[in-house]
């Protein structure tokens, strides 16, 4: 039975001593080390921009801008914060600003003003206990997960990505998006339940459980 509680381990380790040393050296002017410093996070920076902009080339451009901005502001980084969080927050801010400039997003923005419904009821209760993390090796599974995420309304998607993929905490997510902690919690609940609904259905259809052989190849 579920020892019930084990909170999903979403925490990211604090800066390693290597990272702290790199930060210190870049702050002292060794800018050529900056890429080494941000490299472990470059994928997450891209994903944060992508969650907000939903366009690869915009997201890449914003990710680069955010990195440049971080380099420029590196002296203001304080070691009591997580470097990754600081980078992600700069990225989110940059991406939100880019979106504001883009008229295509106006319609989605209006949508955002609706209050979120907190009384979401799960749709099905497929028994989905096993964690099929090896399934992520399969591109098809990753694509299904990405599609499920992309199908969420913006307000749910953004909160989910920042908290569960970028691993910001609730407060940091609220700060980055400029919304209240209560909104973060409500949206996060809704996002997680909706994704569970979508994926539990997939689980029943066998997305995750099929043997990991490429289509067309034979295991014998």
């Amino acid at each position: 039975m579920a020892e019930a509680n084990v909170v999903v381990n979403n925490s990211v380790q604090a800066g390693t001593s290597h990272e702290l040393e790199l930060i210190d050296r870049v702050q002292r002017g060794e800018n050529q080390l900056f890429y080494e410093l941000v490299r472990p996070y470059e994928r997450r920076v891209f994903a944060a921009a992508m969650a907000i902009l939903r366009n690869e080339s915009d997201a890449e451009d914003v990710a680069q801008e955010a990195m440049l901005k971080a380099l420029r502001a590196i002296r203001q980084f304080r070691a009591d914060a997580r470097f990754s969080t600081w980078l992600i927050q700069i990225t989110v801010n940059e991406a939100l600003m880019r979106r504001r400039k883009d008229r295509n997003h106006v319609i989605e923005a209006i949508d955002d003003r609706r209050d979120e419904e907190s009384d979401y009821a799960p749709r099905d209760f497929a028994d989905w206990r096993e964690i099929p993390s090896e399934a992520l090796e399969r591109k098809e599974v990753r694509q299904r997960l990405a599609q499920a995420l992309a199908s969420l309304d913006r307000k749910y998607r953004e909160v989910f990505v920042l908290r569960d993929m970028e691993q910001l905490n609730i407060q940091e997510t609220a700060d980055a998006l400029g919304i209240s902690i209560a909104s973060v919690k409500t949206r996060l609940l809704r996002a997680r339940l909706m994704l569970r609904d979508l994926l539990a259905a997939g689980w029943e259809q066998g997305w995750f459980s099929r043997l990991p052989f490429e289509k067309g190849t034979k295991p014998w």
Binding site: A4, N10, R72
Partner: protein
């Protein structure tokens, strides 16, 4: 079974996310635990939700376009090679652009967003209470810097982000509406002077010279 009187399934659905965050109080948590023991639907919901979090938090879920890392590395390297203020990404790509515009377009560039000017407003307010690393935005043709999202930003489609310190260094003054809480205590007259002293038009410098 008896516990269903105390915590029903709907309560559990509402709190399941907080439960996974370890953000419910101890007594409610233990009542939820009891509920999970007796209610297989909610237990399945809990496990499924936990699976969702686990799957999406996996690094493999993030796909970046191919060549992303090397393009980033290249752009960072480019910014270091920029003349003058090598740490400034703005000057890195604005130098050739500004030079081109100056040659072809004359002096109108002076008021464009590409070359921040030493803008000083008669309404300059003390900025020293503003945290220097606070992220703020400025826009072209305006003299103030703002908290992102401030409704008094002019020319929103041409805004850019920087830190408060950079904004002050570039001659911008704090918006008296969105940054009001930082502006109340200090003396306006004195800080106007402080701001003048720190507002060298450093970024604009080399480009202006090139055009004359």
């Amino acid at each position: 079974m008896v516990n269903d009187n105390i915590v029903n399934c709907e309560h559990v659905w509402r709190e399941i996310s907080n439960y996974l965050e370890d953000d419910v109080d101890a007594s409610f948590r233990s009542r939820m635990d009891e509920h999970f023991q007796t209610c297989s639907a909610c237990r399945s919901l809990l496990e499924g939700t936990r699976n969702v979090i686990q799957l999406y938090s996996d690094e493999r879920m993030i796909e970046v376009p191919s060549g992303f890392g090397s393009r980033l590395q290249h752009r960072l390297a480019q910014s270091r090679r920029a003349p003058g203020r090598s740490w400034s990404p703005w000057s890195a790509w604005l130098v050739p652009l500004a030079a081109l515009l100056l040659i072809t377009g004359g002096v109108r560039i002076a008021s464009s967003r590409t070359v921040p000017q030493p803008l000083l407003s008669a309404h300059a307010q003390p900025a020293r209470n503003i945290p220097p690393d606070m992220v703020v935005v400025v826009s072209a043709d305006a003299k103030e810097f703002h908290v992102p999202g401030c409704e008094f930003i002019h020319n929103k489609e041409r805004e850019r982000t920087l830190t408060a310190k950079e904004a002050v260094d570039q001659g911008y003054v704090p918006c008296v509406r969105c940054l009001r809480k930082y502006l109340q205590t200090a003396s306006a007259g004195r800080t106007s002077l402080e701001m003048e002293a720190t507002s060298e038009p450093d970024i604009a410098g080399p480009k202006q010279d090139g055009g004359e």
